[in-house]
């Protein structure tokens, strides 16, 4: 089959094509940029309410342990959500991008750039809120949500790095799983997750067998 039209084929420059992919991801900003902060606000608000309730019921902060509110998993949901964003991006948005005449390669480059930017944005946001949290003595009640143990004890730049790398890990894990789903469907995802589990167990087993637990850790 040959379709002929006048003029040689010329593509827009790579940067332009990649910015098109980026714009595709933020065409509807709610999904990836706005909703997560609203969910954060809701979870944080609930935690704050519980802290105040506990402090009030106990008759003041001096009546409870100093580290009573130092552990909280509420801020970690964003990593799971990043994974969900990536799975949807590799499945639904990918097929839409192909329909718009984007190449797979351009889509991957643009999407990967967006994932890195998104991870940086959330890591920076959470780190900044952790700073506010520390400065306000845990919102006045010693609560630790964004600067939860153990990450909250690190200097800010290390906190940022931990959040950033965690986000990158989850988002690209989601992207990998989503891609496997698009190509090989559920059987592929089972095998993919099974293989990762098997590798993890093999690694634990090898570490135990060689007695090297703790040797690689930076302590």
């Amino acid at each position: 089959m040959t379709a002929v039209t006048a003029g040689p084929a010329t593509a827009a420059p790579l940067t332009h094509r990649i910015s098109n992919v980026l714009r595709l991801h933020i065409a509807n900003p709610w999904q990836t940029l706005i909703t997560p902060w609203l969910v954060y606000a809701a979870i944080f608000g609930a935690s704050l309410a519980i802290w105040y309730a506990v402090v009030t019921a106990s008759g003041g902060r001096d009546q409870i342990d100093a580290n009573a509110f130092s552990t909280n998993g509420g801020s970690s949901w964003i990593f799971v959500y990043m994974m969900v964003i990536a799975i949807q991006a590799m499945n639904l948005t990918f097929s839409f991008a192909l329909g718009l005449g984007m190449t797979r390669r351009d889509y991957y480059l643009g999407t990967a750039a967006y994932f890195v930017a998104l991870s940086g944005m959330y890591a920076a946001g959470v780190t900044a809120l952790a700073g506010v949290e520390t400065a306000t003595d845990g919102w006045g009640v010693g609560g630790r949500f964004f600067a939860s143990w153990p990450v909250g004890d690190l200097p800010s730049w290390q906190q940022f790095l931990v959040y950033f790398l965690l986000a990158i890990l989850f988002v690209f894990f989601g992207a990998a799983a989503g891609s496997v789903w698009v190509r090989w469907r559920s059987l592929g995802v089972y095998l993919f997750l099974g293989a990762i589990l098997a590798l993890g167990i093999a690694w634990v087993w090898a570490t135990t067998a060689t007695g090297s637990w703790g040797r690689w850790a930076v302590s």
Binding site: T5, P8, A9, L92, F96
Partner: protein
């Protein structure tokens, strides 16, 4: 396969000039019609925004409702708007109007033709509703169970076969020695579908008192497809 003289695989130069509208298109989570049109306007260099707005109005596409909540017909309409407004040099419609009602389909054909006349470009359309699109086509390819059955100019196909109807014996006399594609008889009357006729042959048929009718593209395809017609593809 080559498009614009190049392999289309992962070829941004070719793909950015190609728009592929399919019935089963999926859309990103949370997208509504306005997001789809916005994204399409960035992706296609020749995008015609004014035309897109005009089409949205004509097909009454709800732009602010989520795609997931749209009816099949409304989703088809969005595909149609993207395909026409993209102005892509190669536009492929894979049954994009499957959810449209008869009135909207006719509007689609009209807009397609009008747009083609002002911006000639290559459009490929796959369809099962052959007679509806027959007048729009330049070239027809019929694929049956993966095999190309017909690959011809539409004009050549239009005159390619006719039915002759009349008294049984006259029809038999006229079709004797000819390739008969289809034969039907009722009482003393008969109808035969035969290949295209020359002017002299038409005169001969008229002298025998036979009536001659052109065969529609759809009927032609049915006649030429062995067994049940399974898949019709026309471009």
């Amino acid at each position: 396969m080559r498009v614009f003289g190049e392999s289309p695989v992962e070829n941004a130069a070719v793909l950015s000039r190609t728009c592929f509208v399919k019935e089963s298109q999926t859309y990103p989570e949370g997208f509504s019609g306005k997001h789809v049109l916005k994204a399409a306007s960035w992706a296609f260099p020749e995008w015609d925004e004014a035309l897109a707005r005009d089409l949205v109005e004509e097909f009454d596409v709800p732009l602010n409702r989520r795609i997931k909540k749209l009816s099949r017909g409304q989703r088809s309409a969005i595909g149609v708007v993207v395909g026409i407004a993209s102005q892509a040099e190669l536009t492929i419609f894979d049954e994009p109007y499957a959810g449209l009602d008869a009135v909207a389909r006719q509007a689609f054909y009209d807009r397609l033709l009008r747009d083609y006349l002002s911006h000639p470009r290559t459009m490929i359309m796959s369809t099962h509703l052959i007679d509806e699109v027959a007048d729009l086509l330049n070239h027809v390819v019929v694929i049956d169970a993966g095999k190309i059955l017909i690959d011809a100019e539409a004009d050549a196909l239009r005159g390619a076969s006719v039915t002759v109807a009349g008294v049984h014996t006259a029809v038999q006399q006229f079709t004797g020695g000819r390739d008969v594609l289809a034969w039907d008889s009722l009482g003393g009357l008969a109808t035969a579908t035969v290949g295209g006729l020359t002017a002299e042959e038409r005169d001969a048929a008229t002298r025998l008192g036979l009536e001659i009718h052109a065969v529609s593209l759809q009927q032609l395809i049915i006649d030429r497809t062995p067994g049940f017609a399974r898949e019709g593809n026309a471009s």
